[in-house]
């Protein structure tokens, strides 16, 4: 078995070379409570910083999606105090001033792009903040869509911006107010509420099992 040496919080361990950082920590003997959530790259719980011995660049990653390398100095981030503002979504409108009121610090961005470099999803974070500054919420929403909220951008931001929170607000405003209404959905909800399907659903529920099997096995499948 090929192994590599890694340093967990500065302490050296030899681990199998094909493991992710997360599994390597467990292999070393850790029972994780913090810094471990979905284990498949969707929840952002395992934000991690590392540096390769002898190199000066500080890197950020998700521990569950990153393979260990020789000489990795690793520290997982158990929690980071990102700053979420609270609001009543029904009282907002998708107007530029919403961001000014809730997240005014986005206008203090100095354009250093440290957020983008830190993004574990490879998103153009500074760009989506720029869209938010302009009140272009649909573009901010699209650009930030794959954000898992790990907070690595927040850690690196000299302006104190909580980028994932800005993206989240833009997405909620887009989903609720900017995206066009789905009329077929509105209509179907109204039909159901008016009781249009009550009788039909009762009828299928009451059918004997062999009849319903027959129906199922011979149902037409949309191409």
């Amino acid at each position: 078995m090929e192994t590599v040496n890694i340093y967990l919080y500065g302490k050296k361990y030899s681990v199998p070379a094909d493991l992710t950082i997360l599994c390597a920590m467990e292999y070393a003997g850790y029972t994780l409570k913090r810094g471990c959530g979905c284990r498949h790259g969707f929840c952002g719980a395992c934000a991690t910083v590392y540096r390769i011995k002898g190199k000066n660049e500080l890197k950020t990653c998700l521990a569950c999606q990153t393979q260990v390398q020789e000489g990795m100095y690793i520290a997982s981030i158990p929690f980071f105090p990102a700053d979420k503002r609270t609001y009543e979504i029904n009282a907002l409108r998708p107007e530029q001033q919403v961001m000014m009121q809730l997240y005014p610090e986005i206008y203090a961005c100095i354009g250093c792009n440290a957020c983008t470099k830190a993004c574990t999803q490879g998103l153009n974070v500074m760009q989506y903040i720029a869209y938010a500054q302009r009140g272009d919420f649909a573009k901010c929403a699209e650009e930030s869509f794959d954000c898992v909220g790990c907070g690595c951008c927040v850690m690196r931001c000299p302006a104190g911006i909580s980028h994932p929170m800005v993206g989240l607000l833009a997405r909620r405003l887009t989903g609720k107010y900017i995206a066009p209404e789905s009329k077929h959905l509105t209509e179907r909800v109204a039909e159901i509420n008016a009781g249009q399907y009550d009788e039909l659903i009762e009828k299928i529920m009451q059918k004997p099992i062999d009849e319903i099997q027959e129906l199922y096995n011979n149902r037409e499948i949309e191409k």
């Binding site: 498949h40 790259g41 989903g175 077929h184």
Partner: protein
């Protein structure tokens, strides 16, 4: 990245691709499916199951790993806990921080109840966050809730509880409307029409999605709403047993601070169990697509309190888990990859089945291909079959993968595999608990008063197999319903004196059955320390 042998097989897949394009492999007949399942589905392996020795489901089959937890005593059996010292009080106590718990919290709060959520990890560390493919609802003009009912009932082998399934399909469009109004960004066209696709076993295109971050988009929106409402969320705090009052009704829970090991007493007028699934028990040694905390805690708590289980012996193995590379072994490859046109292909480049059979049938067919038929592709951890993803770009045009399934593309690119140009290797992964606690249509558990359950911890909504997109739907429909019902019930409840008598009764039954063995349950977290994977 691929081995020599894998690359040789890729060339065979490429060689047959042109001929396969535009064809549709035949679907199996009902008999063919039954035979396939009986021979190859893991649920049919007798040696993987035990018999439940005590409690309401005594004498029934259960996966060995879950049986072990049901046959183990409570962590609290020998602890001295002062139940008169109440640490927190709520009208509605919600155990679990996933989509069902968050939906329940929002609705209970909206109904005026004082709500408290507890979760052993963070809010959103849940299988909801990882649901990729989508959520079903019959809202297209050519569809109806009745058609949805038929698809789900048949797909679940006609075993769903009709009253639960009725609620699922009838409230589905309203669930989508509710999410849309909260700001969830569904895939829509320029006119606002939902972009919907097929899932395995659907007869109409009713799968709504948010790219392949469907569950994540729903979960982060629900979480944001919970926080906006100021609902207290106690994280890194696990419920380890339910509490009852002198009438035998649920009246709270004993909590464990996961970091300080301190026990806390939470008193509540109603309790909602929304603890999710059990993938981290690794039934039959399968890898899992589930989150870290999926350890069946709610099944154990509920069963010990007297709630019967339903279909606890039926597990969903998602047909397409990652088989290679090893670093992401068992991770989910969303069914949407097949909805968008990718075929399942064996090592010889043959499409061995229709890509949109139901999940149990597809999983069994892949296992057959890799075992009896010997047409799998060897991997360091076992074997797999190809999912021919370049077909998606051919069918939908260049850029379809990046636009519709960006999470999948990113996951594989991390390991140097570009699924736009190269097929990927998949094998079934432990994905979903079809069974669980038995509830009525209002969400109350059978036999314990003031106790509700919602989400994956529930059994009976789907029957013995679940269709893609009906789980995100069920957590919203039944989560919302449980929240409303719990808030309403809480208005009538006066909580009496708290007790843990049921864990002592349970211990006596175990002892009589000769089973008071070692260990503690619920498990809370899987034991991965000093193991490679």
């Amino acid at each position: 990245m691929y081995t020599e042998q894998m690359n040789a097989s890729v060339r065979k897949v490429e060689a047959t691709r042109d001929a396969r394009m535009g064809t549709e492999p035949e679907r199996m007949s009902a008999e063919q499916k039954e035979q396939l399942l009986a021979a190859f589905h893991p649920d049919y392996r007798e040696d993987a199951f035990d018999t439940i020795a005590i409690g309401p489901n005594k004498g029934q089959k259960v996966p060995k790993e879950l049986g072990r937890l049901l046959h183990t005593n409570s962590r609290l059996l020998n602890e001295q806990i002062d139940l008169d010292r109440i640490d927190c009080d709520a009208d509605v106590l919600i155990i679990g921080g996933g989509g069902a718990g968050a939906s329940a919290a929002i609705q209970a709060h909206a109904a005026g109840a004082q709500v408290m959520m507890v979760t052993k990890l963070r809010i959103g560390d849940a299988n909801t966050m990882m649901a990729e493919g989508g959520i079903q609802a019959a809202d297209q003009p050519n569809d109806s809730p009745v058609q949805h009912y038929l698809d789900a009932f048949g797909g679940g082998h006609f075993a769903a509880r009709p009253e639960l399934l009725r609620r699922l399909v009838m409230e589905a469009p309203d669930a989508i409307r509710w999410l849309n109004d909260l700001g969830v960004m569904f895939d829509k066209d320029a006119q606002g029409n939902m972009v919907t696709t097929h899932g395995g076993g659907t007869s109409r295109k009713r799968m709504h999605a948010c790219k392949d971050y469907s569950g994540a988009e729903i979960m982060r929106t629900l979480r944001d709403e919970v926080l906006n409402r100021g609902i207290p969320v106690i994280e890194f705090t696990s419920a380890v047993e339910l509490l009852k009052d002198e009438n035998g009704n649920a009246a709270g829970a004993v909590l464990l601070n996961m970091e300080t090991d301190e026990y806390l007493v939470a008193r509540a007028k109603t309790v909602i169990l929304a603890t999710g699934g059990a993938g981290r028990l690794h039934y039959q040694g399968f890898p899992t697509s589930n989150h870290y905390g999926a350890t069946a805690d709610g099944l154990v708590l509920g069963y010990r309190a007297g709630v019967p289980l339903l279909y606890q012996d039926t597990i969903q193995y998602h047909p397409t888990g990652v088989a290679f590379p090893s670093q992401i072994y068992g991770a989910l490859v969303t069914e949407k990859v097949r909805s968008l046109g990718a075929m399942l292909v064996n090592c010889e480049g043959e499409a061995f089945m229709h890509p949109l059979e139901t999940r149990d049938v597809a999983a069994a067919a892949i296992i057959r291909e890799c075992s009896e038929r010997g047409k799998g592709v060897d991997t360091p951890l076992g074997s797999g079959v190809w999912l021919d993803t370049p077909m998606i770009e051919r069918i939908g045009g260049a850029g379809t993968i990046e636009r519709r399934i960006p999470a999948m593309l990113r996951m594989y690119l991390n390991y140097g595999i570009d699924m736009r140009t190269t097929p990927i290797l998949v094998y079934p992964t432990l994905h979903y608990q079809n069974g669980g606690l038995e509830i009525d249509a209002a969400g109350f558990t059978k036999s314990v008063g003031n106790l509700l359950a919602a989400g994956e911890v529930v059994g009976g909504i789907h029957g013995r197999n679940r269709l893609m997109g009906n789980s995100l739907l069920d957590i919203i429909v039944f989560g919302r319903g449980a929240g409303k019902a719990a808030a309403e019930r809480a208005k009538e409840v006066t909580v009496g004196k708290l007790n843990l008598d049921h864990i002592h009764t349970y211990a006596e039954q175990l002892s009589e059955a000769g089973l008071a063995g070692d260990g503690l349950s619920p498990l809370l977290l899987p034991n991965y320390a000093r193991k490679a994977r």
